[in-house]
Symmetry: none
Subunit: 207 residues, 4 copies
DNA sequence: CAATAACCGAGACGGTACGTCAGGTCTTTTC
DNA sequence: GAAAAGACCTGACGTACCGTCTCGGTTATTG
């Protein structure tokens, strides 16, 4: 399976790929999505514009790939020993990621564009979303192993719940960080985890 | 106060404002944010480009105003008699709004842009976010009047909780609709409301 | 007739036209046809590239117009008092024109392009060729008035002859100057005029 | 001298040369000079771009060689028995050559380019111009043998005259065919030969 | 018959210019 | 003095060729 296939002709420079993604992130952090120019990325990467377009169809796809790498590095699930701790941990880490200037704009802009571009949506899903969702699955499994959560009745319910939980966590953090533009600190993370685990009544009663 | 002040010269056409916002929404639905051109909006509205720029500083601001109008018309909070019902109701209505092609793209794009533009963020906050947040406040007040929720200990806690709840509801619905690209139907709304009220354990136990 | 028609909107800058043609000639002289870039012309003229394309369809047409102006200025027919003198004079002047760096390449390149572009050919004809042909007509009329040449039998013959003479003079000078790359000096002009007037035998007999 | 020198290594494919020149002519006829792309020529010839550049320095030189071959095949001087006949014959043949789509554009374009490139000019001279000039020399020799023309006084005069005659014939035909864009038919050829032999007065008197 | 040397195809590479498009400004005439 | 019309500058877009550079592989001559 997946033999490198040794095609004819000069092979693509692996170094170029690295330099381009790196340059994209740097330019993104400095200029933001709207002012990000392909020509500028090419110049920073020491690469011709044609090389960019030979590998990525456009700005959107390039940025998705450039940002995706960050999600790989950043998103881990430290085992804190309790479900609350795990949730708080992943929320904090996700928030830190969103606080970076290169992710802030880029993520939303790319999502906006994806509402009109099915291929882009698929790319985002596989490069970013699915990797985050993995964390939810692992966290739940641990919690169930620890007896903090019951097991789901069947596989369908399992998927349904994972999707719901994922939308709640990811959506809420993004909204807090980017729309409400407020800090995701330890206190907020704690209150959010409490809400998630025990519901509205408990949180309101807490004061 | 603020009498129009009867300035000299030809008065601005009120009709133009309406036509421009209408044209903006139409173009947005048709072309999406990235391909939306000011010149196209002007042409559709039967107005010169100059007129656009005399009234809005740029594309971002125009789109915010065009979309904001939709939120006014659409967002009401029907009294369903129970907190669960109210949450499900508002979730469904919000999702319907996000399902429109002109809101889908515009909302995300404008938020993306706002991460680098303080003035734009303020405009979004007052034109869109604060109006939605009002619904949360009214819903909570009703629930507390009905005895479904306890009262907060103090005003600070009250604000803190409202913000949290708002981020959870709005963020989750947006994420479900735009990122996960899944339908917000009655079943999902119900399960989300259950999670919000009773927490994770209850939902998982439900199956 | 042909009232300027006073259209609405900002009128085109007449100054820009002048600056562009001037810049085109300068760039042409410096770089030659092949290396002439529209962007460079725009920069030299202190004008945006879009302004160039708003007025000329492309490089070919722009160069034709730029060079055409030179032919107006340069091509006069000084009355030398004899047909030989007139021919020698016009040959020398035409050669001087072809010796300029901006005409040298441009003229041939544009003619080459015109072999595949009917519109371009028409533009060349009206802007350059027809103006030169006028000289032949005037020269012949003078010679006939002086009795150096008989009158043509009819109008058809008159046109036929003018065309032939024109092709001979213009073609020969161009070929000498650009293909054979030899100097068009007084001696050569004299021998050419002799050939034209008296034919081959006379010239060969001259030695 | 100039033994091939029998170098080691794989010899260049002679077939490739033929295919490339053929492909160049075909592409030239189809697309014209300006749109002629090296990559296209390579593809048509079933050859890699590298192979082109290994044999010709660039587009100009390739086209000169491609077109030169046509001049070899086409240009002969049939012995018509009289000077007039010889001139008319060579004029007709030359015009036929210029009527081909691949020569039309190519010749002018290459000449245009040569005004800025000494090496190219030399290549054109040896590959195209000198071969045509040979015809003039042979034609004159025949005419002198037949007694239609006197002999030149000295060698210098002989060269001078040949050059003049050549510029007149080649230049006029090219100008008629490519600039004036008129047909070179038997009648025109006859009138041109008459002009060349007997001069202007005779032609005008003819009507 | 192995080494060596030049060839060959494929195709990626850094460049340069292309012609187009949108953003936002400026200058006219018209209402 | 606002509005429509449209020219203007700026700057990025994505594409097309240029001529160069690896690659893996193919013929030839030479040792």
């Amino acid at each position: 399976m997946s033999v490198p296939a040794r095609r004819t002709g000069r092979p693509r420079s692996a170094e170029a790929d690295r330099a381009i993604l790196e340059a994209t992130r740097a330019a993104l952090a400095e200029l933001g999505w709207a002012k990000l120019a392909m020509s500028d990325v090419a110049a920073r990467a020491g690469v011709a514009k044609t090389t960019l377009y030979r590998r990525w169809p456009g700005k959107n796809e390039l940025v998705v790939d450039a940002v995706a790498a960050l999600f790989d590095e950043q998103l881990e699930l430290p085992d804190s020993g309790s479900l609350t701790g795990d949730i708080e941990g992943v929320v904090r880490r996700f928030a830190e990621l969103l606080d970076r200037p290169e992710t802030k704009t880029a993520l939303m802009a790319v999502i906006a564009e994806s509402t009109r571009d099915e291929a882009l949506r698929a790319r985002i899903k596989s490069a970013i979303v699915d990797r985050q969702k993995e964390l939810v699955l692992r966290g739940r499994a641990r919690a169930q192993a620890r007896g903090e959560l019951p097991a789901e009745a069947d596989d369908a319910a399992s998927v349904r719940n994972a999707d719901l939980i994922f939308d709640v966590i990811a959506g809420t953090v993004v909204h807090r960080a980017l729309v409400s533009n407020a800090e995701v600190d330890a206190d907020w993370a704690h209150r959010f985890a409490r809400l998630l685990l025990s519901g509205l009544t408990a949180v309101v009663a807490d004061g």
